[in-house]
């Protein structure tokens, strides 16, 4: 399978209180970062073959100045090979999506825009620390369509304090009304080390309970399925198979990918490695000619199998039967889950049902 290329853009106008990704609320270090990226590109030149995806993630890639963004893309396309049908995604913040910016994205050959809408409720947006309003998000979606983008993704977050199931349904319906090709619905995760994580420790906010979480999850699944979307991964929906995120799918089916930038992760089919988190460290290592790698591991067979189970059971592709059990007839553990309606077995694959996706974190340990 062709490899994917990821570039981490660790800058934002401001830090969102729920976000655990590495990102700085400042434009000042951008030159250091860009210098680094350019050097890192040269380090890996020729080592990964021809890519069929390019994903600019963050952070907020649309925060970059036009010239920086163009320079970056130019450098990438000079030194790396891409297939003709490459899926080229950028993560975008609605308030960055001016008509001019959108035109630039189009000109740069970006063919998929994933918009961080998060919510269509202004109070929720304020709570999430987002700088845009629901109206701005709607405008951004319309502008993308007008500019001819035919592969647009919308990210939503649910499970916010005070959010009702009715409210969630409303937001889903509103999202559907824009007919995005792709929708991601993430339950709000209160992560250690974030502002929300600290508020949770103090008992000031809490996440959804098990039953609530289920209801929100199943509601999304019902509404989006009724609207014709395919629930192809725990948090991801697409209008047709052609609109499945080709790049994210590489993470889930263990295809190779190269991640550039601070804190980015890479996998070459055998080894996993990850870059240092701080821009300063990243820049310094590259300046001295070193790969900015913080850690590396070679997977044992057992670890690889655990990953196959952990990732596969999060998707509707499921896991090959032979990876789950050597002989189905003699695997009561599997028949038990089938009887309970958590999986179906189809064409030599074990596929999680909706109920199964709700328990995806349990399968890997259950089968080891």
């Amino acid at each position: 399978m062709a490899p994917g290329l990821y570039v981490h853009v660790p800058f934002c106008r401001s830090k969102c209180p729920y976000c655990g990704f590495y990102s700085l609320p400042s434009a000042a270090p951008i030159p250091v970062w860009l210098e680094g990226i350019k050097k890192e590109i040269l380090l890996y030149k020729g080592r990964f073959g021809r890519f069929d995806t390019l994903y600019l993630g963050g952070g907020t890639p649309t925060f970059l100045e036009d010239a920086t963004l163009s320079g970056l893309i130019e450098h990438i396309s000079t030194h790396f090979d891409f297939t003709a049908d490459t899926e080229f995604t950028i993560e975008a913040n609605p308030c960055d999506l001016s008509r001019e910016k959108i035109r630039l994205l189009k000109d740069l050959g970006i063919n998929r825009v994933n918009v961080g809408i998060q919510s269509f409720d202004d109070r929720s947006l304020a709570f999430l620390g987002r700088r845009h309003t629901a109206a701005e998000a709607e405008d951004a979606l319309r502008r993308l369509r007008r500019a001819g983008f035919d592969n647009v993704g919308a990210d939503l977050i649910y499970g916010l304090p005070g959010q009702t199931l009715e409210g969630w349904k409303g937001e889903l319906n509103q999202t559907v009304s824009f007919c995005p090709e792709h929708i991601s619905c993430y339950e709000l995760t209160l992560e250690k080390g974030t502002v929300f994580g600290r508020l949770q420790e103090k008992g000031e906010i809490r996440g959804l309970g098990e039953e609530e979480g289920r209801n929100f999850f199943l509601t999304a699944s019902q509404i989006l399925s009724a609207a014709g979307y395919i629930h192809y991964e725990v948090s991801n929906y697409a209008r047709t198979e052609a609109f499945f995120s080709r790049h994210n799918a590489k993470y889930w089916d263990r295809s190779p990918y190269l991640g550039l930038g601070p804190s980015a992760h890479s996998f070459d089919g055998k080894d996993r490695w990850w870059n240092v988190r701080s821009i300063r460290g990243y820049g310094a290592m590259l300046s001295s000619g070193q790969a900015p790698v913080e850690g590396r591991e070679t997977l044992t067979e057992e670890q690889a199998r655990l990953e196959v189970l952990a990732l596969g059971f999060r998707t509707r592709r499921g896991v090959a039967l032979k990876a789950v059990a050597s002989g189905y007839q003699s695997c009561p553990a599997l028949s038990r889950l089938e009887a309970d309606g958590l999986v179906t077995i189809l064409d030599g694959r074990v596929i999680p049902t909706e109920e199964g996706l709700l328990l995806a974190d349990h399968f890997p340990v259950y089968f080891s």
Binding site: G20, L188, T189, E297, E307, R314, P332, L337, V365
Partner: protein, 600 residues
Amino acid sequence: MDHIRNFSIIAHIDHGKSTLADRLIQATGLVDERGFRDQILDNMDIERERGITIKSQAITLPYVDKQGRSFELNLIDTPGHVDFSYEVSRALASCEGVLLLVDAAQGVEAQTVANAYAAMEHDLEIIPVINKIDLPSADIERVKEEIEIELGLDSDQAILCSAKEGTGIKDVLEAVVTLIPPPSGPVEKPLQALIFDAHYDPFRGTIVSCRLFSGSVRAGDRIRLMHNQATYKVEEVGLFRLDREPKKALSAGEVGYIISGIKTVSDVRIGDTITLESDPAPAPLPGFKEVKPVVFASIYPIASDDYRALADALEKYKLNDAALVFQKDSSAALGLGFRCGFLGLLHLEIVQERLEREYDQSLIMTSPTVQYQFLLSNGEEITVDNPVYYPDPATIVKAMEPFIRASIMIPERYMGAVMDLCLERRGVNAQFNYPTPGRIEIRFDMPLAEVIYDFYDSLKTVTQGYGSFDYELLDYRESDLVKLDILLNGEKVDALSQIVFRDSARPRALNACEKLKDEIPRHMFKIAIQGAIGGTIIARSTISPFRKDVTAKCYGGDITRKRKLLEKQKKGKKRMKMVGSVAIPQSAFVAVLKTEKKGS
């Protein structure tokens, strides 16, 4: 030998033995301020964590008395809990005298009496020491009266001290050298050394703790273990300071250690006599009264491949805990393991914990049981200490279970609560003594099985910690018994079966179902827990399945983070026993016998 004193501190649990030992060690300057830590003789983590002494520990203290004479004081610290009385009796066999420690507020309690009598049986000099006199609730006069009346000792001799504050410590040391006689034992006679303890050291092999009653031994000597005539060359002898301190020779009267490259662990038996090959003693020393286990349970390795390692660990462990007995066992649910006999529930817990910590074993221990006797219709009489071998009910003519005589000492105000508890636990033949005003001793005949069923904790609860308890085995009495089975998702788990009194079967079954519900984690599917007698279900509970457990986001390409989390869970699962597709944690097997609510 006039300069040697061998003595123990004996007391009821929590009366301050280890603290007094700490003060004596400090007062004799064996350890400086910096090197000191509390409970200094309790080497095991488990002792320090629980604040109790499990193993007797010997240490030699240098001491110069008021008249300027130098002494070697061999102090043997002893455990206080009733389960470890055998440790006390072994320590006593190596002593000429004891400090009998009594808490100035609590007074004489069940174990004080039991330990004092044990010392009297050994004909030891007993020095009463009243500790914790600094407590506001200390009542020295009452405690003196109890010492006179309940123990028949001269309370005028009693030394007042506060080990915590360090007062009266000098008086205690002076009493040890003036009141306790020096050991007598002819150095010129053939060697007789009593093995009172041993442990396995991975570098030095077996290290034997012994008391020399006659003769002497030095490095290079060839010694003989009298029970099996095995001979070994002595590599090193010495005294117990804070660490082992090598010495040229050990002589009659002394307490020390011998290292002699003993590789066959089972050669060493606690209570055996060591003599010299060249000049053997005509007969061994009397040794110790053999201890009989009263509580039985099976242990299994969590991974069946570890059976060999467990067998090896048990052999080595037994060196240091002579009271443990074991033999091979197998279970349909849990595979190959060992059936073990213990002196009581605390002993059982300690064995499990020490095997895990000191020998790195991952174990499942089944719920403990006593030894039952059955008369069958074919005239055969059988003894059963494992529910798996419970006979076909149709063939049972008569069932018998062991009874104990329980002695419970409490302040009078708890009498009602304790009576209720004892009656509920099938206590009969109650007797009451009033040793001193305000205190009462209640004696009951009671099935031993009821004691195993969390009696000690229940007693502590109803008496707010003021009740003390001791027991002795009486006899076997006829009883009406049934076997209670536990089924998980319809599958019988033999290791969870119990033999119970018929009238208690339902409440026991309900308790077991509830306890298992608390202990077994939720799974991806529903787990039905049932208690059954024969084919009849008498109790049930259900563990509802997980309804949702999935992280929203697999963090970008950071699969490593996700996998590491799963690897941790996988490791956790490896510490559970799979029965069918249900993973049962270790704790569940013993929890079925606990009555208290989780977290209280």
